[in-house]
C-alpha cells in the first residue's frame, strides 16, 4: 500500500468532490475508506495498491472528470 497526496486546481463547487470521489471509487486497487477529498485545500488523499493501479491511472481518472492536477506525491 502506498499513500498519495494530490494537489488539484481550485475546486469551486462542493459537488466536485462528490464527482471526484465517484470516479476514484470506480477504480480498482484504491482503498475506498482512505479517500479524503478536501474542498478548501483542493487536495485528494488516498491509499492505493500499486500492484493493481498506478498513480498515473489515478491522475488520469481525475483528469477525465475535468480537473487539472498541479502536483502529486506518493509515499
Amino acid at each position: 500500500m502506498k499513500s498519495a497526496t494530490i494537489q488539484l486546481e481550485t475546486l469551486a463547487c462542493p459537488s466536485c468532490t462528490q464527482k471526484i470521489e465517484g470516479a476514484l471509487k470506480a477504480l480498482d486497487g484504491i482503498d475506498k475508506e482512505t479517500i479524503k477529498i478536501s474542498f478548501n485545500s483542493s487536495k485528494v488523499k488516498l491509499d492505493f495498491d500499486e500492484d493493481k493501479v498506478s498513480i498515473g491511472e489515478i491522475e488520469d481518472a481525475i483528469n477525465r472528470m475535468g480537473y487539472e492536477i498541479q502536483k502529486s506525491k506518493v509515499k
Binding site: T10, S15, K19, G22, R64
Partner: protein, 617 residues
C-alpha cells in the same frame, strides 16, 4: 475533445458572451431577427457543451449535480425554441462559476500564503562533498544542508557550522531575528536574515513544526460541523429531488417553460458553499494573526464561551520573577550594588537571579566568609565591609536599624505581592528590592476587551498561595481567583463549572502541566511557542504565547459564527423568494432565476471574504 472543451472554458465564456451581445445588437439596432436567432442558437450550443460534458461525467459516477439540472433546463428551452433563455442561462452559469472560482481563491488566500511559505528546495551535501540544489522531498533525516542569506530553512535541524540570524516569524509570530550558532535548533519555514550555516536535518517534511502547523490549518478549514454534514447530506438528495419535481410539474401542467424554470431556481449553491466559505476565511484570518483555530466546530463553541479560566504562571504572568519595586537609602549606592551583585552571583536562589538581572553590568569584588542562613539570606564580607542580603528576619538578626520610611516601603512592597530582598552594609540598610512574577504587559486591557466581547466570568487558578493570587486578581480585575490548586484540582473545578453550573468554559494555559484542563474545557486554548505538543491537544493555539491575540481570537470566532448565519439566511431566503415569485408573479423566468441564483452565490462568497480583513475594534 471533452478535455479540450473543458480546458478552454474561459474562451468559451467569452465567445458565448460576445455572440449574445451581437445577437441583441442585430435585433435592436439592425432589426435583423434572423441573425439574432442564429447567434443565440450558436451561443447556446457553445455554452451548453462544457456544462453537458460535466453533467455526463457526474451522471457516470451516479451524481446528480447542478450541471445536470442546467443541462436539462437548456435542452428544454431549446425544445420550445426559446433560444434567448437557453443562451443567457448558459452564459450566466458559466460566467458565475468563473467568478466563484476567482473569489473563492481570495477567501482561501490567507491559508495559501501560509502553505506557500513551505520550503521547496534545499542545498544538500552530496557524496562528493559539494552542495547541490535538490527538491525538498529528496531530503532525509541526517542529511547535511547549506542555508545561505535570504534562503528558507528547509527542515527542522541543528546548526553544525557557522552563525546566522534567523527570522522565525512563520512559526513563532515574532519578527525580531534570533541569533543562531553551532548547536542551535533551527526550524523549517523560517528565513535566514544574515549569515551562512550548515545544518543537519532532524525532522523533514510534514514532521517539522511548520509542516504540522500547515497540516493542522488545512485540516481545520475542511473540518465539518454537524450542521455542515447535514447540509451535505441534504444537498445529495436535494438536487435529484428538484429534477423529479420538475418532471412531475411538466407531466401535470405540460408547461415546459415552468418545468425548466423550476430546474434553474432549485439549484442549490449558496447554501452548500455559504458555510465553508465563512469557515475558510475565518480560519485564514486567524492564521495570519497568530491564532490557530481547529475547525468550524471550534469556531461555533468558542463564539459562545461565557466563562474563561486562566492558569496564572506563564499565562497571565510572565512566569519569570523579576525586580518590580526598589528603594535606595543613603549614598554610595553604585558601590553597594556592586557588592550585592558580587554576593548574589554565588547563589542559585531564584530571587538572586532576578536581582542580578536588575543590576546588570557592574564591578565585581572578591567575597569572603560567605555564610548562608537558611530561610533568611546570606551574610558575607566584601572589600572589608559586612554585607547582609536577605529578608526582614535576617535584618533583625543582624541588628540593622530600619527607619520609619523603610518600614512603610516594606509594607507597601508586601501589599503588592512582592518577595523582599533587603541589603545592609555594616549594619545599615541600603537597598530594598521587591521581586515578583510580573503580569504580562497589556493583559489587563486584553481582559477588559474579553469582557466587552461578552465573557461574563474571568477566573484564575494557580498553584501559588492565596495571598499572591489575590494581589494579581485585584490588579487585573478578575471575577474569581483560587490559589493552592494542583493540576487535578484545576480540572475538577472546570468539570464542576461545566457540569453543575452549565457554563461554556474556555481554559487558557501553557499546556505544560494543565493538559487535563485543556482537554476537559469546552475550548482548550494553548499558549504555544509553536514547538509545543500543546498544538496537538488544544482547540485553539495562540502562537508565540502572545496573550494579546486572545481578544482577536474571540472576536474573530464571533464574527465568523455570525457570518455563517448570515450566509445561511441569504441562501435560504433567496430560494424562498424565488419560489414565491414563481408562484405569485408573472415576470419570473429562467434567465432571471439564474441571475439571482448566481448572484446569491457571489453574495455569500463576498460576505465570507469580509472576514479576511476582520480586526478587533
Amino acid at each position: 475533445m471533452q478535455r479540450y472543451i473543458l480546458s478552454n472554458k474561459n474562451k468559451i465564456i467569452l465567445i458565448n458572451g460576445i455572440l449574445i451581445g451581437f445577437g441583441f445588437f442585430s435585433k435592436f439596432a439592425l432589426n435583423n431577427i434572423n441573425v439574432f436567432i442564429w447567434s443565440l442558437i450558436l451561443a447556446s450550443i457553445l455554452g451548453a457543451a462544457p456544462i453537458a460534458i460535466q453533467a455526463y461525467q457526474a451522471l457516470k459516477v451516479k451524481v446528480v449535480s447542478i450541471d445536470v439540472l442546467v443541462t436539462v433546463a437548456v435542452l428544454g428551452a431549446f425544445l420550445i425554441q426559446n433560444f434567448e433563455e437557453s443562451a443567457i442561462v448558459t452564459f450566466l452559469f458559466l460566467f458565475g462559476a468563473y467568478l466563484e472560482q476567482r473569489t473563492l481563491n481570495k477567501t482561501r488566500s490567507a491559508i495559501k500564503e501560509l502553505t506557500e511559505m513551505a520550503p521547496e528546495t534545499a542545498l544538500k551535501q552530496m557524496e562528493n562533498g559539494e552542495f547541490e540544489e535538490v527538491d525538498i522531498d529528496d531530503v532525509d533525516e541526517g542529511d547535511i544542508l547549506l542555508v545561505k542569506t535570504g534562503a528558507k530553512v528547509p527542515v527542522d535541524g541543528r546548526v553544525i557550522v557557522g552563525e546566522a540570524s534567523i527570522n522565525e516569524a512563520s512559526i513563532t509570530g515574532e519578527s525580531i531575528p534570533v541569533a543562531k550558532e553551532k548547536g542551535s535548533n533551527v526550524y523549517a519555514g523560517t528565513i535566514l536574515d544574515n549569515g551562512t550555516i550548515q545544518i543537519v536535518a532532524d525532522r523533514v517534511g510534514e514532521d517539522t513544526t511548520f509542516g504540522r502547523i500547515i497540516e493542522l490549518v488545512e485540516e481545520a478549514q475542511d473540518s465539518k460541523s454537524e450542521a455542515e454534514r447535514f447540509i451535505d447530506k441534504f444537498s445529495k438528495y436535494y438536487t435529484p429531488a428538484v429534477l423529479v419535481i420538475a418532471i412531475i410539474v411538466w407531466l401535470f401542467s405540460r408547461d415546459i417553460e415552468l418545468a425548466i424554470t423550476i430546474l434553474v431556481l432549485g439549484c442549490p449553491g449558496a447554501l452548500v458553499i455559504g458555510v465553508p466559505v465563512s469557515n475558510v476565511a475565518g480560519i485564514g484570518n486567524g492564521a495570519r494573526h497568530g491564532v490557530l483555530l481547529k475547525g468550524s466546530e471550534v469556531i461555533g463553541d468558542f463564539s459562545r464561551v461565557d466563562t474563561m479560566v486562566f492558569d496564572k504562571t506563564g499565562t497571565l504572568t510572565v512566569g519569570n520573577p523579576s525586580v518590580a519595586d526598589k528603594e535606595y537609602y543613603g549614598d554610595n549606592i553604585d558601590e553597594v550594588l556592586g557588592y550585592l551583585a558580587s554576593v548574589e552571583r554565588e547563589s542559585d536562589h531564584p530571587l538572586a537571579k532576578a536581582v542580578l538581572e536588575e543590576i546588570g553590568e557592574t564591578t565585581i569584588s572578591p567575597v569572603e566568609n560567605t555564610e548562608v542562613i537558611k530561610g533568611e539570606g546570606i551574610v558575607a564580607n566584601v572589600n572589608g565591609h559586612r554585607l547582609a542580603v536577605g529578608n526582614v528576619a535576617l535584618m533583625e538578626r543582624e541588628n540593622v536599624r530600619i527607619s520609619e520610611k523603610a518600614r512603610a516601603d516594606i509594607k507597601r512592597f508586601e501589599k503588592n505581592g512582592n518577595s523582599l530582598v533587603l541589603t545592609s552594609v555594616d549594619g545599615e540598610l541600603k537597598i530594598l528590592m521587591g521581586v515578583r512574577d510580573q503580569i504580562r504587559p497589556g493583559v489587563k486591557e486584553d481582559l477588559q476587551k474579553l469582557k466587552k466581547l461578552g465573557v461574563k466570568n474571568l477566573i484564575m487558578l494557580s498553584g501559588d498561595n492565596q495571598g499572591t493570587v489575590d494581589v494579581v486578581s485585584r490588579e487585573l480585575g478578575l471575577t474569581e481567583a483560587h490559589g493552592n490548586m494542583l493540576p487535578e484540582d484545576k480540572s475538577a473545578y472546570i468539570k464542576k463549572l461545566i457540569e453543575e453550573e452549565g457554563r461554556i468554559v474556555a481554559f487558557v494555559g501553557d499546556g505544560v502541566n494543565d493538559s487535563p484542563s485543556l482537554a476537559l474545557a469546552n475550548i482548550g486554548i494553548a499558549m504555544g511557542s509553536g514547538t509545543d505538543v500543546a498544538i496537538e491537544t488544544s482547540d485553539v493555539v495562540l502562537m508565540n504565547s502572545d496573550f494579546s491575540r486572545l481578544p482577536h481570537a474571540l472576536g474573530l470566532t464571533k464574527a465568523t459564527a455570525r457570518n455563517m448565519k448570515q450566509n445561511i439566511v441569504i441562501a435560504v431566503g433567496v430560494v424562498l423568494i424565488l419560489l414565491a415569485s414563481l408562484i405569485f408573479s408573472e415576470w419570473m423566468n429562467m434567465s432571471i432565476g439564474m441571475l439571482v441564483h448566481e448572484g446569491s452565490i457571489l453574495a455569500v462568497i463576498l460576505n465570507g471574504m469580509r472576514l479576511l480583513s476582520y480586526r478587533l475594534r
